[in-house]
Amino acid sequence: MAEAAVANRDYPRVYGKVGSLHRERAWALRWAYVSLILASIIFLAPPFYMLVTSIKTNVEMADQSLNPWIVRNPTLEHYWAILSNPIFLTFFKNSIIVTILVVSVTMVISVLAAFALSRMRFWGSQVLATGVFLTYLVPDTLLFIPLYQIVGGLGLLNSIWGLVLVYPTLTVPFCTWIMIGYFASIPKELDEAALIDGATWPQMLTKIFIPVALPGIIAATIFAFTVSWAAFVYPTAFITRPDQMPLTIGIVSQLVRGDTFAWGQIMSGALIAALPPVVVYVFLMDYYIAGLTAGATKG
């Protein structure tokens, strides 16, 4: 509204329209809020319904005369049941091990490579940077069949180590790509100053690049974490033994059993499994979004 006022003062010929402009803006704002409220209701309905289901008793769930969207007698029984289920805890443990290993490996590989690619030009570095981006565009569903054979050939089918081996294909290209962008935005004067002071390349990386590009590193770490936590295609293809399954495929294949529909437990399990990425998102939203948009706006 402030801009409109300025414009009107400088250009008197629009004066006559002030009222209509103002009214138009008020309507646009109202319309914006209506759209946003509607979208939020639709976007949040599924997680809300999952939550509602997870705290309902089985009796209440089975009663079709009741409104399914509200809970009358909230209960935590499904959460206790799922949290005392040893197989669910195994899924959780597997997810944590795989994710921590994959995130660490990814960050070491991509920070080192991005530093070299953005600062130390060498033969083929330009081609490699483009190659990194192209690899990011290769979807996992194109690779899982040949990787099935490769992982099988290494004897790592049905093992979380097979997942630790192949997950970097999901995380490394994108993390390297956004780290190249962050490193390239650091002014060259900084490394020149460091070089004149006699800093070595490793010192430059640890003393200048990593601290200055910390927001980028956090964004890349969050990306690697969410991707390896949510990965679904590879574990579905490579793992059939329940004790080696991570959460996603574990819940989908082991808790969902055609005959006994334990919806309360499925939903509470899914919500607990979705919690880590959601918590990370809530606390580090700006980094999360920076990482999300960096792919196209930086680089």
Binding site: P139, P173, A184, K188
Partner: protein, 318 residues
Amino acid sequence: MAPDGSAKAITQPVARGPRGRSPGVSSLERLARRRSSIAFLMTLPLILVIAGLVAYPAAWAIYLSTLNRRMRANIGFDNYLILLESESFRMIIWQSCFFAITAVLLKALIGFWLAHMLHHIPTRGQRKWRGMLLIPWVIPPALSTLGWWWMFDPSYSSINWIINVFGFPSVPWLGQPWWARISVIMVNVWYGAPFFMIMYLAALKSVPEQLYEAASIDGATSWQRLRFITLPMMQNIISITVLFSLIVTFANYDIVRVLTNGGPRDTTHLFATYAFQVGILSGNLPRGAAVSLFMLPILAVAAFFILRGVTRRTKEIA
């Protein structure tokens, strides 16, 4: 991306200057201190990941798809021909294209709309709304699809309950081919629209406010402002996002796997889920590889244009 030529000219002599030339240093040590060798060592893990886990498997998939079921004999393009001759696979091609194109268009439109609405409201409130609207993107899709599956349940569907309240008959969400197709698209749009919203919001924020001021002084209508300022300024981001999403949506696996598992009567299968069924579940790896390679031409075209868009954008920023 990598720095431009001028940076090379500045850093090179400085980097080589004080080190590596002193007498008495062995040639191996000198090699280790050379900038390009250090750089190569630093990128080696990346090269290994790309070569060993992406490039090699991709090439292997192409070779694999020319073998017979037992992987003993090379049968040329027979796997592709057999697939193309089967009625059911032609339907899967059609369904994959229908699914990807419809879902991407809807995601782009909804994302664009929401980004605009978010951009309209006062800046203070934007953070809160943006945070809420991005939730579908944050939940691992395999898990949120379980929630949708329960919402689509034939006898306990909570969506049908709402529909019934308004006096309409229940919908057989996952039971009939067309409703199942719509359901799968709905879940994909629900999951992916927030991503478009965030990308477009970032792009909207980068359009200089002066352009709009100048346009409203010239008496431009809101449609004209959209058509002649917003869309041209966002053109590049829009195309990059759409193409990127096209790749991801074409290659989608988890939503269909959890929601319908290809049913009813294989009408909701996509390339990825069908490749999984043929390759892993039925054990015909070569033909499964052939199925997933049908995605390659679409991916290659999209990747080409994305790369062009990103390069152009990099030049704009530089």
